[in-house]
Each structure stands twice: as C-alpha cells, then as structure tokens.
C-alpha cells in the first residue's frame, strides 16, 4: 500500500477539517447556554457529542471507501460523515435543525443520514453494527464489490448486537469491517471496569475473524490496517475487526464535567494529538512546512465558516412538515400490507 505524499497530505487535511468543524460546533453550541448551562437554549439545542481527538480513525478508514460503501456510525458521528465526504453545508444545517439539512432538520447532530453516501448513525449504542451486517449481506447477495463499515465504541462491544453481528458476518463471510474506537470510556465508565478482556481485538478470534489492534492516534497506522481490511472484504475474503485505541479530547458530551478522568491523563494523551503527530512525521520527511499547515488550516476554517453561514441563513422546517420524511410511504396496497 502506497503511503504517498499525496495520500498523507490528504489525510492531514481531512483531520484538520474534522477538528476545525468540531471545535467551531462547540463554540456555536455554547451560544446562549451560558453562564448557567441550559441544554435547550441557543441555536443548537439538545446534546452534543464531538469527535475531537479521534480524527485519525475516521480519516484513516474512510480514505479507503467509495461513496457507495455503506457506513454506520454512532452518537458521535461528525468525523465519520465528514471523512465520508459529506456536503458540509447540509451537515451543518442539519445540526442547526434547519430545513436545508440532510434530514430537513429533523435528525439533528446524532441522527445524520446521507443516502448519497450510504451513511447512517444513531444514538442507540451498538445499534449500527447489525445494520452494517445487513448491508454487507445485501452486497454479497448482489455480487457487488462494496464494503460495509461500522464504527462503534468499546462500550458497544459489550452488548449482544456486537457479538450477534460478528457471528453472522463470520458465518456468512460478509464484506464487513468493524471498527472499535476504544477511547477508554463508555460515557464515564472506564473499560477496565466493564470489560473482561483487555483488548476487543481478542474477541475476533472467538468468531474466526482476523482482528488487529492499531494505534488510533496514528493515522498512518489506521490507514494501513484499514486498507488491508477493506481490500480483503472487497476480494470476498470476509470480515475484519480493527480496534483503534484512541482518546476523546472533549467530554462524552458538551458540558461533561469529566470528574471520572484521573488527573493529568487527558494532558498526557494530548501529547499524542493525531494531527500534531502526522504533522511532525510529514515535516521530518520534508512533505509539509509550517506555511503549508497554516494554509490548510485557513482553507478549512473558511469552508466551515461558509457552512455555518449557510446553516444560520437557512429556514427552520415549517410545523406542517413535522410528519413528512418520517414514515415510509407505501407505494402500493400490497407493499402496505406486507409492512402491516
């Protein structure tokens, strides 16, 4: 697999794009919610789960995917969808709950769907894993060379759906790649207090699925491992489990006091910021200068400002649209019956 300058600069730019997006969304989110935190106030009411710190995983995996490869994500989905290639304006508008958003403002930040990119996510922990297996089954039955990818956290690896999904994916040798983003905490519960195995990569062996652990802060490592897994799936050789050990730089949700974190650990992890790590590697190779990095940052900031302006200027969906795009419209009485 070629680790070319073009590829790695692309990964760098993608990580900067995700980070810049997330940090700007954090600023927007707190508008109107301070000094006394009011979750219902501001332009983006409700909960907010941001992806800062884990960018290497989304960027490294999605760099191998095509728009028609299905991806399921989690309650922390922004990074995955950005890396999949979403239109930032429509994504930002959805986060704002506007009519121009991906789901016409009815999904919000945790329920982003993009049919063109075959992307879905949701707040049910582990809920996306069986969906990816279903998509992979469809791909296999149709004889296509697409790959279904599911991102989920290490907490989700303790629920039944994870094990049922791995079992069927292995049994049917499906073109699926399972990405465990092990950021060490399921909300506030450390993995050591919830999980009997040290590494979820060990769980692949129980189902006969090749499983590897990678440094989720190193985008080059993620890119290399994911590339092998995706190609393996496209060749019809079955599923792979990748455990990317990473860390979220913000709380589980915005406003999380993070009392559960041992003192100093976040600062330690920030020493291994995935963007800074790649920047150093690129600079050592003479592939990136400070000026290049500055230009990329400015370009991404401008893109996101454009998306934000689009979202702010867009209208809210009218009340009478509350029930549209919510239920599937039956196309024929027969179909209606079968749904009934």
């Amino acid at each position: 697999m070629a680790l070319s300058r073009e590829t790695l600069l692309g990964l760098y730019e993608m990580m900067v794009k995700i980070r810049t997006f997330e940090e700007r969304v954090a600023e927007i989110y707190y508008e109107g919610k301070q000094p006394v935190f009011n979750i219902a106030a501001g332009p983006v009411p409700g909960e907010m789960h941001l992806y800062s710190g884990q960018e290497a995983v989304a960027a490294g995996v999605c760099a191998h995917l095509r728009p028609d490869d299905p991806v399921t994500s989690t309650h922390r989905p922004h990074g995955h969808l950005i890396a999949k290639g979403v239109d930032l304006k429509r994504m930002m508008a959805e986060i704002f709950g506007k009519e121009t958003g991906l789901c016409h403002g009815k999904g919000g930040h945790m329920h982003l769907f993009d049919p063109e990119l075959h992307f879905g996510c949701g707040g049910i922990v582990g809920g996306g894993i069986p969906h990816a297996v279903g998509a992979a089954l469809a791909i296999k039955k149709r004889g296509e060379d697409r790959v279904a990818v599911s991102f989920f956290g290490e907490g989700a690896a303790n629920i039944g759906a994870f094990h049922e999904s791995l079992n069927l994916a292995a049994l049917w040798k499906l073109p699926a790649v399972f990405i465990v983003e092990d950021n060490l905490y399921a909300i506030s519960v450390p993995k050591t207090a919830s999980t009997a195995v040290r590494s979820n990569a060990e769980r692949g062996a129980a189902y006969g699925i090749p499983a590897v652990q990678v440094d989720g802060q190193d985008v080059v490592a993620v890119y290399e491992a994911a590339g092998e897994a995706v190609e393996r799936a496209r060749r019809g050789e079955g599923p792979t489990l990748i455990e990317a050990v990473c860390y979220r730089f913000r709380g589980h949700f915005e406003g999380d006091p993070e009392h559960y974190l041992p003192e100093g650990t976040k600062e330690q992890w920030k020493q291994r910021d995935p963007i800074a790590l790649l920047a150093k590697q690129l600079k050592d190779q003479g592939w990136l200068t400070d000026e290049d990095a500055q230009a990329i940052e400015e370009r991404m900031t401008a893109l996101i400002a454009e998306a934000e302006a689009f979202a702010r200027e867009s209208a809210y969906p009218p009340p009478e649209a509350a029930l549209t795009d919510v239920f599937v419209q039956a196309e024929s009485p027969r179909e209606e019956q079968s749904h009934g």
């Binding site: 680790l3 790695l8 050591t192 195995v197 040290r198 590494s199 990569a201 060990e202 692949g204 062996a205 090749p210 499983a211 590897v212 652990q213 990678v214 190193d218 080059v220 490592a221 890119y223 290399e224 491992a225 092998e228 897994a229 393996r232 792979t240 455990e243 330690q268 590697q281 050592d284 190779q285 003479g286």
Partner: protein, 342 residues
C-alpha cells in the same frame, strides 16, 4: 550478586516478571496468519510461572504493572506462598513501561527476569535489564529471540537461576549479541535478532511484510530454522557458508539476486531476492545510506531514516544475558535441585 533483603533482614532470591499486554495483536493477524494470543492466556502463562517459582524456593517476584492487570488477574486464581510486588513506575501503556520496569528490577537485585511477549518485548526489556539474565517466553509464532516453551518449565528454570544452583549459570546462561543503531557516535536504538532497511517512510502498523521493499538485512547470528526477516538468510546455502567464520551477517537485497523462498511471517512464504551475503564482525559498523527509508528492528518499523540523513548499524557483543531453559533444567537436575525429602 545483589540480594533482596527480606523483612527479617535475610536475603531472598527474587525474580522479575514482565508481561506485555499489547503483544500478539498486530497486523500480522491480517496480512499473514499470525497466532492470536489473548491476555487471558497470558495470565494463565503467568500463573504457571508463579507456581513453578513458588514450588522451587523463590520467595519474591517483582512484577511490571499494566492497566489490564495481567499479573493481578493471574494472582486472583492462584495460591502461592511467594510475595508478588509491583515495581513503582508510572504506567504509560507503551514500550517504555517494559524498559523502565526492567531497569528498576535490575536495580532491586532480581536474579533473572521472566518475559512474556515477543521479540519486540524482549528488545525493550534488554535495554533496561543490564546484566540480569532473561528467561523469555514467546507469546506467538513470529518470534526468534524468545522460545515457544511451556511456562511451567520456564518458571522452573528461572527458579534454578534465582536460587543460584551451582552449574546453571555456567551451563545455561549466555550473553546474546545485539545490533546497535548509531547516528554519529550516538546509540539510538538496539535490536536482538535483525534489522531490515525497509523502503518506506513511516512506522504505521510496524510490521513488515512486503519483501520488495526490503533493501538490506543485518543479523546478530546466522539463524537456522527461523521465521521473519531472519528467515531470508536461514534458508540460503550461501549464507551458511559465509556464516561459518562470521559473528553476524549483512545481506544486500534487491533485484537480480538469488531467489530464496522465505517465511517472512507466519504462513507468508515469498520469494526474496538476495544479492550479496557479507560476514559481519563484532564492532563492525555498516552505514545505511538508503534514504528515505525506515529501519525495522526485530520485525517492527522503528527508526525512520529521513531524506538526506544516514545511520550506522553495528554488531555488538553487549546484548542481554539469556537463560537457555532446557540447559538450565538439565544442569539443575544434575545438581539435584528438584529432589525433595519425602
């Protein structure tokens, strides 16, 4: 030899224990057919080591702490009379833990250190253990330095070393060689088995599996019957001839050479083109000018050689002391170490 003072002021034989919770999960499970080694099995291995040490007179074990608590888990289901203590290090969950733990154990005066891991684990332990011999137990099928040995037996051998059974040290402990990576006069890294100059720039997933990217190979010894990069020379008749009078080997790789079918990873047997095999003498330094490249140490990409830079690879006799488990057991048998009065 330094002894660990016990509570009552007497000297107690102590053994170090370093188990790497991260070994056995790298990309070789995906690109080759590497064995899966889970941490519950590692805890099992540790239980067997502890039982053997306890049965043959070791009173204290100094263990490396880790976030998973491998040794703690092993102790949960094991009844042993010996005392297990953890070295006081700040756990980072990186290779640095093993290096630092080995140094602290050596300072504390353990008689030997049992390692549970692969070539990479032993490489970093060797950087900290000084003259304390290692008893390496392999956790996988891709290792050369540690043996695939039943851990009960490794524990018995470690006990014989720790209890200073008379002929064991002479007959079963040898000093290994190492390869030293130097920039100018500065030692930057070491390897215990091999160094490969790999045509890539980044550490990434660490493993190396593309033979076309291998430009040169350095070996601490003319290995036979091994797997990994060392296998390239191990199955080559010319290498055996050159190795007859040499300490180590320096092998130039690239198009136009003899093709040897080498198992460079478990189940991954590929043709590798070998151009020239050179003897490598002790203290001889070979410059690596192929840049950009990355040096893979004992099978793991580790030291980038950016464009316009160079490093040297030197064969040294200053590797770690290593216990040959079978030889130690044989020597201990002769000394009656395993005999107890009914």
């Amino acid at each position: 030899m330094i002894m660990i003072p016990a509570a009552g002021g007497t000297m107690q034989p102590a053994v170090g224990l370093i188990a790497n919770p991260a070994s056995g999960k790298d990309i070789r499970r995906l690109i080759a057919h590497g064995s899966v080694f889970d941490n519950n099995e590692k805890a099992n291995i540790i239980r067997r080591v502890l039982q053997a040490l306890d049965a043959f007179g070791v009173k204290q074990v100094l263990a490396m702490p880790d976030l998973y608590g491998l040794v703690l888990r092993a102790l949960e289901d094991t009844q042993v009379g010996l005392r297990v203590e953890f070295v006081n290090i700040s756990v980072t969950n990186t290779a640095a833990d093993s290096r630092l733990a080995a140094a602290v154990m050596a300072q504390a005066g353990v008689r030997c250190i049992v390692t549970v891991g692969g070539d990479g684990t032993n490489r970093v332990v060797a950087q900290g253990c000084g003259d304390v011999p290692l008893v390496p137990i392999s956790t996988g099928t891709n290792n050369v330095f540690p043996s695939l040995v039943e851990s009960t037996l490794a524990g018995m051998a470690a006990a014989a070393v720790a209890c200073d059974v008379e002929p064991v040290w002479d007959r079963a402990v040898r000093q290994a060689r190492r390869l030293e990576i130097v920039r100018g006069n500065t030692l930057v890294e070491t390897a215990l088995v091999d160094v490969v100059v790999y045509d890539e720039r980044f550490v990434a997933t660490r493993a190396i599996w593309d033979a076309d990217k291998m430009r040169a190979l350095f070996l601490t010894a003319p290995y036979r019957g091994t797997i990994g990069a060392s296998a390239i020379a191990a199955y080559l008749p010319q290498a055996e001839e050159v190795a007859r009078d040499a300490a180590g080997l320096y092998v130039e790789l690239g198009p136009g050479g003899t093709h040897v079918m080498a198992p460079i990873a478990p189940g991954l047997i590929v043709p590798v083109s070998v151009r020239v095999v050179h003897p490598l003498e002790l203290e001889q330094t070979i410059p690596v000018t192929y840049a950009p490249s990355i040096l893979a140490l004992d099978g793991e990409r580790e030291v980038p050689v950016p464009p316009g830079t160079s490093v040297g690879v030197r064969l040294s006799s200053h590797g770690p002391y290593v216990v040959d488990v079978q030889a130690a057991l044989q020597a201990a048998v002769k000394a009656g170490f395993f005999i107890r009065k009914p």
